[in-house]
Amino acid sequence: MKYESQRVAMPYFIFALILFAGQIVFGLVLGLQYVVGDFLFPEIPFNVARMVHTNLLIVWLLFGFMGATYYLVPEEAQTELYSPLLAWILFWVFAAAGTLTILGYLFVDYATLADVTMNKLLPTMGREFLEQPTITKIGIALVVVGFLVNILMTALKGRKTVVNIVLITGLVGLAVLWLFSFYNPGNLTLDKYFWWFVVHLWVEGVWELIMGAILAYVLIKITGVDREVIEKWLYVIIAMALITGIIGTGHHFFWIGPPEYWLWLGSVFSALEPLPFFMMVLFAFNMINRRRRNHPNKAAMLWAMGTAVMAFLGAGVWGFLHTLAPVNYYTHGSQITAAHGHMAFYGAYVMIVLTIISYAMPIMRGRPYGNSNTAQILEMWGFWLMTISMVFITLFLTGAGILQIWLQRIPESGEALSFMATQDNIALFYWMRFVAGCFFLAGLIVYFGSFFIKGQASPAEEVRGPATEDA
């Protein structure tokens, strides 16, 4: 850690991991409700648990992105953070608002929550992933604006690197697109169309810039490869992401009202969306092969390779599987969608946040070369347990989805099974998914355990030295 103010990333990372644990617990509740329908009913109905599960994910990823930004922007800019105090204030504001919102979901009936938060004045609630009360949405916008001011003031007074520029572009995009969450017209087709400006243009647009920048930063640090090479890769990757991903939004416009030309545009461009993720795999492995030293933080290197591979599989391959309009006609809104969503979010965004945590946390804790071998081995066990569990969750949901389509979607009206009859028929897959989810939780516990082991690794060994000064 070169600048003292980078340390403000720590509370962001710790709080992100606490929310991550909550997300997984509620994921297990949901998984069980899929097979034991009345589990926790009526105390925690499915819709409440799902809202908690998805909103915790979004909020903890935002905490992770913010922590990553506070950590890497000062170091890239070679200057102290503009205002560590503002970063601390915004941390507590965001943490309090996030916690209150989740508690509101759990302990207040949703219609009452809408009522007491005066949703009537500016109705924005009750839409998937945007369930937050309007006041929380305003709070998120304000926190993000304060955060951006802090980051921009830092970046502008220091060295302007490509990593910083790309990261900040992604974060500004995130903030601007969030404004569409306030647009909720009475016409459902308009509502849905612009809802995707938040959801798709986040995860298949600007978030890829954030992911690419964090990955590039970690690769500079652990491989010691010249940043000129890394920055060139980063530009090509984000170029591919935006060139394919923006018009690729069209793959959500197939069946919600927009005209037929989106069937073509959405299919062709989204079929190319795996490209940036494939390039990230080439990028990560190439840089690691050309490394100028063996960084002692092997766990961070494993996460960096893992996030590239799993993002490619989850977002790239599993996305492509059902993105062509003639296929999507049958798979839309089935368990195939759920399968893709799980692996894509885990591979791309959960794992990139865990990558930067794996690299930065030991340094902030006074272990500049990484955690002790024992801690790293435990962390890598956590990595494999969670990652393999997620692969199985995805495979079981894919199996459930294929059967669902076979029974419910493909036969003619009159011969097709009803939704609920189909669900009964595929319950075995949901049970297996639940078991895989339990293994995921075990992996998370092992991963958390690795933080409590003392000691640190020894300095890096240069292999084709010297590493660049940046590293």
């Binding site: 109905p45 170029a239 935006l242 060139i243 919600i256 005209p259 939704f419």
Partner: protein
């Protein structure tokens, strides 16, 4: 990557490519919203009651279990075509069905998925029914494949 391909070339592809596709996307959005959608979403039938029904839908987080035009959760049936599936495409039949259904919840059958009791008024149920009926008439390129959604 070969040395001939420089960082500034990569940056120009990024800047030029993303600017071009942002503009193209905005143009397509303009065409979709101004020319195509008015003919496809029956906005002439978008009454105040339908809008009230949309708020009933949102204020009770229906999308937390159900999907609507394939979007939402996959825990309970698709509802964009429930007007045709359970209402026999008839407004009065559908309203009666909805009242019966909403008031019978939850079933409390052990082990079965449960839908909460939302305590909606008759007016709210009629609004919700109007919203779902309007939704069922949007031109959605013929989705879903069959009546089961």
């Amino acid at each position: 990557m070969a040395e001939r391909f420089t960082k500034s070339m990569a940056r120009n592809i990024y800047l030029g490519g993303s600017a071009f596709f942002v503009l193209l996307f905005l143009a397509l959005t303009f065409d979709t919203q101004s020319r195509a959608m008015p003919e496809r979403d029956n906005r002439d039938q978008l009454t105040e009651q339908v809008v009230r029904g949309k708020h009933v839908w949102e204020n009770n987080n229906c999308v937390g279990c159900h999907s609507l035009m394939g979007e939402g959760a996959y825990f309970a049936p698709e509802l964009a075509n429930v007007f045709d599936r359970r209402g026999a495409s008839d407004s009065e039949v559908f309203k009666a069905y909805m009242k019966g259904w909403m008031n019978a919840m939850p079933t409390n059958v052990p082990g079965r998925r449960q839908m909460p009791q939302f305590n909606l008024t008759d007016q709210e149920i009629e609004d919700l029914a109007a919203f779902l009926e309007w939704t069922s008439k949007i031109d959605d390129n013929g989705w879903p494949p069959n009546i089961e959604g």
